[in-house]
């Protein structure tokens, strides 16, 4: 009988398995991030690639030489970036609140629907992903433009006489974000709401709580993990959103993602664009870390 454990070779192979994702993350996340950091600390140049110094691989010390914080200083000094960042945060925040207001009833109705219907309802929520994101946003251009469906419908009904200017306004950006991000709000909400035992709400009613108070005292606190997850899932990409403000927003709609795009492609200022990207990253990491902190403490408290 063989009583020995797995051979040395097999144990080494077993140790390698968890190494694969780390290798993946290092190659595809950490290394590119380091490159972006390096570029953000470099200077622009009329060259290919358009920054100096370029790391040519001959000397490793060259990777870190001749770097400075000029780009970040420029960002801090230029009001445009402050305004764009704050405006992005504001638009993302308002959008997240709107998404929550729109998404909660949908998720709630789905969670209370007969069990046999639920897979179909989930499929309907996911269905838009079968079409390209870009095409769907272009469709909104067709809907919102002055001679588009929306204005034709409203004028046809006699509600308005002059076409509304919706396209190329901040309203259109909200419409676009609300439409595009709704599944990311609904699905996590649905996942938590579905798990709440209906008897809990009945217990609250039984103990003298009218339905709306039972909702606030039981349903909302118990769906908090879904509310937070859905909000982060919407807020974070919305801050950096570029396509929707570019296609639906007007020239006055300032968003940091759009600024980043124009620095990179129009001005070919890679170092400044990289600096913007890093500022954005730090801005978004803060709420995630805070959330994880709160969540960890909540789990700990219930131990």
């Amino acid at each position: 009988m063989n009583v020995a454990g797995p051979s040395r070779g097999r144990r080494a192979a077993a140790a390698l398995v968890p190494a694969i994702p780390y290798l993946w993350l290092t190659l595809l996340f950490l290394v590119p991030l380091l490159i972006v950091i390096k570029i953000s600390l470099s200077d622009t140049a009329v060259a290919q690639p358009p920054y100096r110094p370029v790391f040519d691989g001959s000397r490793w010390s060259g990777f870190f030489s001749e770097l400075d914080f000029d780009n970040f200083a420029l960002l801090a000094a230029d009001e445009l970036y402050w305004v764009a960042t704050l405006s992005s945060l504001r638009i993302a925040l308002v959008s997240t609140v709107l998404l929550l207001i729109a998404g909660f009833p949908i998720a709630y109705a789905m969670a209370r629907a007969p069990v046999a219907w639920r897979p179909l309802l989930i499929a309907l929520i996911i269905l838009p992903f079968w079409t390209s994101f870009l095409i769907r946003i272009y469709a909104w251009v067709a809907i919102l433009k002055p001679e588009g469906f929306l204005n034709q419908a409203l004028m046809g009904l006699g509600l308005i006489t002059e076409p509304l200017q919706v396209l190329n306004t901040e309203t259109a950006v909200y419409v676009g974000i609300l439409y595009a991000y709704l599944p990311f709000m609904v699905l996590p909400l649905y996942a938590t709401l579905e798990k709440i035992d209906p008897a809990l709400v009945e217990a609250a009613l039984d103990l003298g709580s009218p339905p709306w108070r039972a909702f606030w005292a039981v349903t909302v606190p118990l769906s908090l993990p879904g509310i937070v997850a859905g909000s982060l899932l919407c807020f974070i990409p919305a801050v950096g959103e570029f396509v929707i403000p570019d296609l639906l927003g007007g020239s006055e709609t300032l968003m940091i993602g759009r600024q980043l795009w124009s620095e990179f492609f129009s001005n070919r200022d890679w170092p400044l664009a990289s600096a913007v990207a890093l500022v954005l990253l730090v801005l978004l990491v803060v709420p995630i870390v805070l959330y994880r902190e709160v969540e960890a403490r909540r789990v700990e408290a219930q131990r």
Binding site: A199, E202, L205, D206, G208, A217, V218
Partner: protein
């Protein structure tokens, strides 16, 4: 004919509070009345033309198999379902259209439904807060409830930090905190293991007697109902089959369903041949001679098919056919189950019917115990059996 002395159900002296029988008092006003209540879900009637009176201070059990409508009945009283037809009144007030949060009843849920995001004391205080009771009074009441269910030390814990038995107590305390007119308990002990369940049964009874509150319990466990209840309503297919004290339910079941659902019973199919000296005579393919049954409540005619029901502990098992005894059935031992306090014999009769007989193991040693495959004779007294037509 000599006067027949009045007979008493054996259990009516011990288990039931002797002086407490408001249902027998025609002038007593019931606390809860179901009058012709029907509840339909789609085509099917979960509760079918049901009438029932429950009196103040009763420990009342709704007993029946799953799907018999007992939980629906409870939920209608709590206000989670409205009857399709009929009336439910509580202390004279018609409950139609009264929402659950305005009914003076509280429910202990089968799943306990404790709020997972609230500590034990906040769970218990929840109902009191809805009533906007002063803070000091709420705290005092929570304290009192914690003491009642012996959970003072766990007030700050969360439900997922408690054992099953502790959760059950929190659920009970939360439902009692508002001092409802009626406490509704939906399978209150189903989630507990056997030992804990038995202890908790007696605790529930003590709490109920102590508070003098009306308890309405739904259960599928006949033993639980027998131990705790003042009266039991046995339900089947949305209807009440019998309402009586545990002793009456066991000793005088009205139908075969009740006899078979509550406890074990042997049923012999037969035909009434007549009545002599107050004894019914029944011919059965399972017995050689006629069987004699002393069941004065039965109203039968000669020739009527009838089911003769005898409980296993009311039959005796003999190795020799006893001389001169009435009601002898012969067969052979098919199975023996030794339970410690009891031994169960399964005896196969000549007709192929298998009967259960139990014998208390009153002494530790038996000289020559009855063995498998032995020929045996079973006997029962005429008044040990009852005759059922439904």
């Amino acid at each position: 004919m000599p006067a027949v002395p009045p007979r008493h159900i054996s259990a009516s002296v011990g288990a039931v509070r002797r002086s407490f029988a408001p249902w027998a008092d025609p002038s007593a006003e019931p606390l809860i009345r179901f009058q012709g209540v029907i509840k339909r879900f789609g085509e099917a009637a979960a509760v079918d033309d049901l009438s029932l009176d429950i009196f103040e201070g009763e420990f009342f059990c709704l007993l029946g198999p799953s799907g018999c409508g007992k939980t629906t009945l409870l939920r209608m009283l709590a206000g989670f379902e409205e009857p399709s037809r009929g009336r439910i009144t509580l202390a004279g007030q018609d409950l139609a259209g009264v929402p659950p949060y305005r009914r003076p009843v509280n429910m202990m849920f089968q799943s306990y439904a404790l709020f997972p995001h609230m500590s034990v004391e906040r769970n218990i205080a929840f109902g009191l807060r809805q009533d906007r009771l002063p803070k000091a009074e709420t705290a005092a009441r929570v304290e009192e409830m914690l003491r009642l269910v012996q959970l003072e030390k766990l007030a700050k814990r969360y439900p997922d930090q408690l054992s099953g038995g502790q959760r059950q107590r929190v659920a009970l305390a939360r439902a009692l905190a508002k001092r409802p007119k009626v406490l509704l308990l939906d399978e209150p002990l189903a989630a507990l293991d056997k030992k804990l369940r038995e202890e908790t049964q007696f605790e529930l009874m003590e709490i109920q007697h102590g508070l003098g509150m009306t308890f309405l319990v739904v259960t599928h466990d006949q033993e639980e109902a027998m131990i705790m209840a003042d009266r039991i309503a046995v339900m089947d297919h949305g209807r009440i089959v019998q309402v009586a004290t545990p002793g009456e339910i066991y000793e005088q079941p009205r139908t075969r369903f009740v006899a078979e659902f509550v406890g074990d019973v042997n049923i012999l199919e037969g035909q009434v041949t007549g009545r002599e000296n107050g004894l019914w005579h029944v011919a059965s393919p399972s017995a050689q001679g006629e069987l004699a049954v002393d069941d004065p409540d039965a109203a039968l005619e000669a020739g009527q098919p009838v089911a003769l029901a005898v409980r296993p502990e009311k039959m005796a098992i003999h190795r020799e056919r006893p001389a001169g005894a009435p009601n002898v059935l012969e067969g052979e031992v098919w199975d023996i189950g030794y339970l410690g306090d009891w031994t169960v014999y399964r005896v196969k009769l000549g007709s192929g019917a298998i009967l259960r007989v139990t014998r208390a193991n009153a002494s530790r040693y038996v000289e020559a115990p009855i063995d498998w495959d032995e020929r045996v004779a079973l006997t029962f007294a005429p008044d040990a059996a009852i005759l059922l037509t439904r």
